[in-house]
């Protein structure tokens, strides 16, 4: 077979080799114009890392060669904060095209501190430059630009549009009133509403709500509704303003009700699914907040019929007062979906018991299941027999719902659960009954649970173990420890997790003893000891290290990192010079989490490592340490050839600066 390496692959390799040696810059710059995209793409990354912003700036200034200009621009953008001072300096130049590029690059880099330098350009005589400056302050969310932007709202159309969008992005409430001036009777009404939606300031709720009654064209009504919904979501107390409009809606909102009804029943089609989903949520929010009675059945039916509409539960729970007065009528509604929805969202008291019980024999499974859940939510012991009956004889969803409800009752009420755990009971009943006991401890049932932990059925054993883990007695611990040798691997690992969650010295001692056996469980044992954060296991893990294979060795590092013994950083420093790259990576990550000021030189060396993951850890560690030297290194990492590293470094640079003195660490 001939070689698979095509010419671009050769050139790529040559570029890679040449880039890092002196004089490599010329090679990189030439490769920016290569015919193959893979070579160009790599050259851009290398240029970002090894070519100074001033040189890249010259490529950008060269209006003749579009390929070089674009490549230079991409490289500058990849340099991120490192290129910012250079780009800011360009803002003083006269060439409008250059200004445009600088503004666009600055806004894409997104380094907020550059924002103030842009303010003078907001009213630049060249409209393109002014527009780019407006967009840039929007992207960079420069709050100081708000007054100037509000001033621009009276200029010509393109500037107005850009200013409106920028105000939306900045999100300052001072923009609410000037933006409201465009709604509803201006060509700019829609963008203004979009901006108000982004700002989502509470003070916009009152002026926006009544507009829903008067504006009828979908082109503006849809965005208005979306804006209102977001404002309601973020409003600390939306019920006050919503009440006022609720009365108007009942009185003369027929058309609005029809509109909302359509949105609540819409079936999303492929093309507009996302749009329809947002409008559905917005309509639901408005109905829930205003308590629009006519549409409650529609909303509840949607909740029951649409498997992905569970969020409606949470929405209605936010406004319980709105639903409560109508609950009874909704529970007896002719449509089973409405009954089901009402059972799912209502909060009930002892007086409602007879009505709820009736629903336990509804012909529809979904209604019966919802009734079990509703009974359970009441948390009243007297309902125990009803739920137990459903647990024994219901269909699987009812059984699960009954179990969920039972788990909220007192241990005394749950003693009757014993009947469901007797020999001869169907396996699903036993498993669900045990599930109840993983949520509530019933001391009286302990012997039965421990006995079931020996059941021949793996499903029962697993459920019994989970329930047994709640008992504090030594016997339960023995059962869990014994399960570590279960013939089913999933049960072994579950037992391990349960022991870890219980904590306790005995389990740790047992786990440490298990380290002696090199079987497939040992990896999980090492991991479990980490999760227990068991200091007493640390030195045993260290001494085990040389005997293990690579996977266990790595796991030892991760576990020690959780346990954090006093000698951890020494241990990690040794691993950092390991032969194996993955071990070095693990050690580097560990050091990034625990390094103190003494380790600064190590982190600086890591920042120069050929491996990106180690450089990434360096960026995190340096960000933690802070200080001038760390910042300088981070600025270089912020233009790393690997985007992940650059992003980590940029995030680290944005961390609040700390004092670099050793005592600050």
């Amino acid at each position: 077979m001939t070689s698979l390496l095509t010419a671009p692959a050769h050139r790529l390799a040559a570029l890679e080799a040449a880039a890092r040696v002196p004089g490599g810059e010329q090679h990189i710059l030439a490769a920016l114009e290569d015919t193959a995209p893979s070579v160009r793409e790599r050259a851009i990354r290398l240029a970002a890392r090894y070519v100074e912003p001033a040189v890249l700036g010259e490529l950008v200034a060269d209006g003749e060669n579009a390929v070089r200009r674009n490549a230079g621009l991409s490289a500058l953008e990849r340099q991120g904060p490192y290129a910012v001072p250079h780009l800011v300096a360009v803002l003083d130049r006269d060439d409008p095209e250059l200004l445009l590029f600088a503004l666009q690059s600055l806004s894409r880099i997104g380094f907020g501190s550059a924002g103030l330098a842009i303010l003078p350009l907001l009213s630049h005589p060249d409209p393109n430059v002014a527009q780019a400056a407006i967009e840039a302050v929007g992207k960079l969310r420069v709050r100081e630009a708000v007054p100037a932007l509000c001033g621009l709202l009276q200029r010509d159309l393109w500037i107005q549009l850009a200013a409106i969008a920028a105000l939306g992005e900045i999100g300052h409430p001072a923009a609410v009133a000037p933006l409201m001036a465009f709604v509803p009777d201006s060509v700019l009404a829609e963008p203004a509403v979009q901006a108000l939606r982004r700002i989502a300031a509470p003070e916009s709720l009152e002026p926006l709500l009544p507009l829903l009654l008067t504006v009828r064209e979908r082109a503006l009504r849809d965005p208005l509704l979306l804006a209102v919904a977001v404002v309601i979501e973020l409003h600390p107390d939306p019920e006050g303003p919503a009440s006022g409009v609720a009365r108007d809606m009942e009185a003369n909102g027929g058309d609005l009700v029809v509109y909302l009804g359509q949105l609540l029943t819409a079936v999303p089609e492929d093309g507009d699914a996302e749009e329809a989903e947002s409008l559905l949520r917005a309509a639901a929010t408005l109905v829930a907040a205003t308590g629009l009675a006519e549409l409650h059945p529609v909303l509840l039916a949607r909740l029951s019929a649409d498997p992905v509409a569970r969020w409606i539960e949470g929405l209605l729970a936010r406004f319980p007062e709105r639903l409560a007065p109508r609950l009874h009528a909704l529970l007896t509604h002719a449509d089973p979906d409405v009954r089901c929805g009402a059972l799912r969202v209502g909060s009930f008291g002892p007086g409602d018991l007879p009505l709820l019980v009736e629903h336990l024999s509804d012909p529809r499974l979904a209604v019966r299941t919802a009734a079990c859940l509703a009974l359970g939510r009441m948390g009243l012991d007297p309902v125990a027999p009803l739920l137990l009956e459903r647990l024994r004889r219901g269909e699987p969803p009812e059984q699960a719902a009954a179990a969920q409800g039972l788990a909220r009752l007192s241990p005394e009420a749950l003693r009757e659960l014993d009947g469901c755990l007797e020999p001869g009971m169907a396996e699903p009943v036993v498993v669900e009954a045990l599930a109840v006991l993983t949520r509530t401890t019933v001391p009286a049932l302990e012997p039965r649970v421990l006995q079931l932990a020996e059941s021949p059925s793996a499903a029962v054993r697993l459920a019994a173990l989970r329930a047994a883990a709640r008992f504090t007695a030594a016997k339960a611990e023995v059962v869990l420890l014994r399960a570590l040798a279960d013939r089913h691997q999933p049960i072994q690992t579950e037992a391990l997790e349960l022991l870890v969650r219980r904590g306790g010295d005995r389990a740790v001692t047992m786990l440490v003893a298990m380290l002696g056996t090199a079987d497939s469980l040992r990896f999980h044992v090492i991991r479990a000891l980490g999760h227990c954060r068991a200091p007493s296991a640390a030195s045993r893990l260290r001494s085990l290290y040389p005997e293990c294979g690579p996977l266990e060795q790595l796991q030892i590092v991760w576990s020690l990192l959780r346990i954090a013994p006093p000698w951890l950083s020494e241990f990690l420093l040794l691993r950092l010079v390991d032969q194996d790259l993955d071990m070095r990576r693990a050690a580097a990550q560990g050091l990034s989490e625990v390094a103190c000021f003494d380790h600064l030189p190590v982190l600086l060396a890591m920042a120069e490592d050929p491996d990106w993951d180690i450089r990434n850890s360096a960026a995190r560690g340096l960000g933690r340490l802070g200080g001038a030297e760390a910042r300088t290194a981070l600025l270089t990492l912020a233009r790393d050839v690997e985007s992940v590293v650059a992003a980590t470094a940029r995030a680290a640079l944005e961390l609040p600066t700390r004092d670099a003195s050793p005592s600050a660490v």
Binding site: T6, A9, A36, E497, F523, L551, D613, T648
Partner: protein, 276 residues
């Protein structure tokens, strides 16, 4: 639900790209994360990094690599997808290629064939053009990375979605109904050979020359280096003058290769330069 660290996803994504060519960079990183989350939970691993280490070092790592394609590949396909290409093949490419190799069957490859809809569509088109495989006039090879798809292809039993571009007449002619599903009639299955393989496995080579290769809707999932390697592989596997068909959103524009774009029947296909 905790979100995964981008560096952890990159570590895993790089390993996957190296093995299979599939890239999960940028926004696709999140797709990788959500596709693998259930598997990680099953293995009780906390992070993509832990999964990476499992793949590389666990005794069952190789087995895990084998099941990975089923978790991360997009296998979307259907019969007569981009049907114009089949017409071009019959009307323009065959008349040109057949005289070039009169003494042997024409050889066609469907690379990244998923559950077989594409190679079977080819077989049907050839049948309908009066070329049954019995005459030994053609052979179709079809391969895919995902073993579960290859098994389905061999079974040739399809759901409605695979037939979404078939009119009632073609449904009747090419399929028989079996328990609410559609079984491709035997005569269209003859002459199509399936094999599971990773086109990017180190040292992988196609073991015979092809007159036509279809590789549609696969390169869009590939990173640049894998893209170039695969095109190199096809270039060396095609006979001089042989054709490569790509999906409608894929192209060799701006790539350095001996496969040159030609417009045939109003569409762009790629042809290997004729000199041997």
């Amino acid at each position: 639900m905790t979100s995964f660290q981008p560096a952890d996803l990159k570590l895993l994504g790089d390993l996957i790209q190296e093995r299979f060519g599939l890239t999960f960079e940028g926004v696709r990183q999140d797709i990788l994360g959500s596709r693998l989350r259930p598997r990680l939970r099953e293995l009780r691993l906390d992070s993509p990094r832990a999964y990476y280490e499992y793949l590389r070092f666990h005794p069952r790592g190789d087995a895990e690599f084998d099941r990975l394609p089923a978790l991360i590949t997009n296998n979307e396909t259907y019969f007569f997808r981009e049907t114009r290409q089949f017409e071009i093949l019959i009307e323009h490419v065959l008349p040109e290629r057949r005289p070039a190799a009169p003494s042997r069957p024409l050889r066609l490859l469907s690379a990244g064939c998923s559950s077989g809809e594409e190679p079977y569509s080819l077989a049907i088109a050839l049948h309908d053009a009066g070329l049954p495989p019995a005459a030994r006039s053609w052979e179709i090879d079809a391969c895919d990375l995902n073993p579960e798809r290859i098994a389905r292809a061999r079974e040739a039993l399809y759901d409605e979605t695979s037939l979404r571009a078939c009119d009632p007449e073609s449904r009747r002619r090419y399929f028989s109904v079996e328990g609410g599903r559609f079984r491709l009639k035997d005569r269209y299955r003859v002459g199509v050979r399936f094999f599971q393989s990773n086109l990017l496995a180190p040292g992988f080579a196609l073991d015979r020359p092809y007159d036509v290769i279809l590789c549609r809707n696969l390169l869009i999932y590939f990173g640049d280096a894998a893209f170039d390697r695969l095109i190199g592989l096809f270039a060396s596997a095609l006979v001089p003058g042989g054709y490569l068909f790509l999906g409608h959103s894929e192209s060799l524009f701006d790539r350095d290769t001996e496969l040159l774009p030609v417009v045939v029947g109003g569409s762009v296909v790629y042809r290997k330069t004729a000199k041997p």
